[in-house]
């Protein structure tokens, strides 16, 4: 059941990323929805699931892009693993910790991703700080919203059901 949820989350993130990302912030990838999904899965399920989810999502993302297959997967695996481990050690339920978590995850992802590209001399990222920070804030915002919606969703459904039964 949990695996299905993870799969759906990743698939949904990929679908949204590939379809809606071009509409966000002038078409540049200011938000990485797949990364947000990976962090979410890691925080809610743990390091192993987070890592596996990051690995699969990153590989798919890599294969759909023109980059080297594996770099995104490796970066998201590391992020998923560490985010899951961090979520198990600390209580990350308030908005601020989640914000910090998403910002840190984005920064780590960018460091691994861009670092590998730089090390392998495949691509240059001149002054990536601003871009990374923008993406980190975007990811954090989307992530917090996503967390809020997903956590509020069962209550809304319940209240709707309860309201429907009351009108009858």
């Amino acid at each position: 059941m949990r695996a299905a949820g993870v799969f759906i989350a990743i698939a949904l993130a990929l679908a949204l990323q590939t379809t809606l990302a071009r509409f966000l912030v002038g078409g540049s990838a200011a938000v990485d929805l797949v990364l947000v999904a990976v962090v979410y899965v890691a925080l809610t399920t743990g390091p192993v699931t987070g890592m596996l989810a990051g690995s699969v999502a990153g590989l798919i993302q890599d294969s759909l892009s023109s980059g080297v297959v594996g770099i995104g997967g490796l970066a998201k695996s590391i992020v998923g693993f560490l985010a899951g481990a961090f979520g198990q050690q600390f209580i990350v339920t308030a908005a601020l910790p989640r914000l910090v978590m998403f910002v840190a995850a984005t920064a780590l992802h960018a460091a691994v991703f861009m670092g590998l590209y730089e090390v392998l001399d495949l691509r240059a990222f001149p002054s990536p700080g601003k871009t990374v920070m923008t993406q980190a804030l975007g990811n954090a915002l989307v992530g917090i919203v996503a967390f809020t919606i997903i956590e509020a969703l069962p209550g809304i459904v319940e209240r709707r059901r309860a309201g429907g039964r009351g009108r009858r």
Binding site: V48, M51, G70, I71, L120
Partner: protein, 324 residues
């Protein structure tokens, strides 16, 4: 089941996933030289494995070869030891031959320098009894040797032949108790007779010393004087060194004089026999044989009755002429 649950092996799983991704990336990325990173890394890793394997094989082969080499070295060492032993023996033989050659050379030189007709002979044995100081030489009557002939060495007088067989001769050494010779003290020209000392006297004497007798107490004799043959005994040619006076002690109106022989009888290897000795006359062999101390019946030629005459260095030529 816990072992199979990958969730219990988080660290290993993380590492496996990371390595998997790295391998995947490496397969797609090329190095600056155009070789795929995976290939380069794989090749590098296997090259190290090959290097290690080759090193291990080489070490094993080297160890094996060294083992065999040690075996060979051991055998060679043994062979060399034997060779060294043989060479040492050979060296000793060579030294011995060299010493003999040296001795013979001295003898030859001496033979050439003397005017007497001599023949060289090798010492092949010594006397069987300590009471009688004799030795055996390897020449006899076949070589013209006769009893009564004087035997000399480069360093001095040795003795005289007392028995001559066809191929060997017995020599009575001058240190024998029965031996005697007419002598002159070279410095003062004092005449006397030297004779060996018996076993009893040797207790008082230092072994190997001889006694100079019939010297009056007023004679000019002192330690260090050289004693030479006077030629008056009819056996020994005149002028050959007998020895050196070791000590002089007055005793009952005479002097008790001890003389150290010039010849080292223990180291004697070769001698010269004076063929035309004054005492050699036909028929003397029988008489000399009768004098053989080993038989115990004979007595030496009575030197005291020879009429020791004054002698001088100047008179040598004359004496030699007479001898000839």
């Amino acid at each position: 089941m816990a072992l199979l649950d990958i969730r219990q092996r988080t660290g290993w799983l993380f590492m496996a996933v990371t390595v998997g991704h790295i391998v995947l990336i490496s397969a797609q990325v090329s190095t600056k030289r155009g070789v795929p990173v995976l290939e380069a890394v794989t090749f590098g890793a296997f090259a190290e494995v090959q290097r290690g394997a080759t090193s291990a094989v080489s070490s094993a082969r080297e160890g094996w070869q060294n083992y065999f080499a040690l075996q060979q070295i051991r055998q060679e060492n043994e062979r060399l030891r034997q060779e060294v032993a043989q060479l040492r023996v050979g060296l000793q033989q060579e030294r011995m031959v060299a010493q003999q050659t040296q001795t013979l050379q001295k003898l030859l030189d001496f033979k050439a320098s003397t005017e007497w007709q001599t023949t060289a002979a090798a010492v092949i044995g010594s006397g069987a009894s300590p009471e009688f100081r004799t030795m055996t030489i390897d020449k006899g009557t076949q070589d013209g040797l006769l009893a009564g002939m004087a035997v000399i060495a480069p360093t001095g007088v040795v003795g005289r032949i007392i028995t001559a067989s066809p191929r060997a001769s017995k020599v009575q050494l001058i240190i024998d108790a029965s031996a005697g010779a007419g002598v002159t003290v070279e410095r003062s020209r004092v005449n006397g007779v030297v004779s060996g000392v018996g076993m009893t006297e040797q207790i008082e004497f230092r072994p190997g010393l001889i006694e100079l007798n019939y010297i009056p107490s007023t004679a000019d004799v002192k330690s260090g004087d050289r004693v030479v043959t006077s030629g008056t005994d009819g056996i020994y040619p005149k002028g050959f060194v007998v020895g050196e006076i070791q000590s002089v002690q007055p005793e009952a109106g005479e002097l008790r004089i001890r003389v150290k022989p010039a010849v080292d009888f223990a180291a004697l290897e070769a001698v010269l026999v004076v063929l035309n000795s004054p005492s050699v006359i036909p028929g003397v062999d029988d008489a000399a044989t009768a004098d053989d101390p080993s038989t115990g019946s004979g007595s030496p030629r009575p030197l005291d009755k020879l009429g020791v005459a004054p002698n001088s260095v100047e008179g040598r030529a004359e004496s030699r002429g007479e001898a000839r």
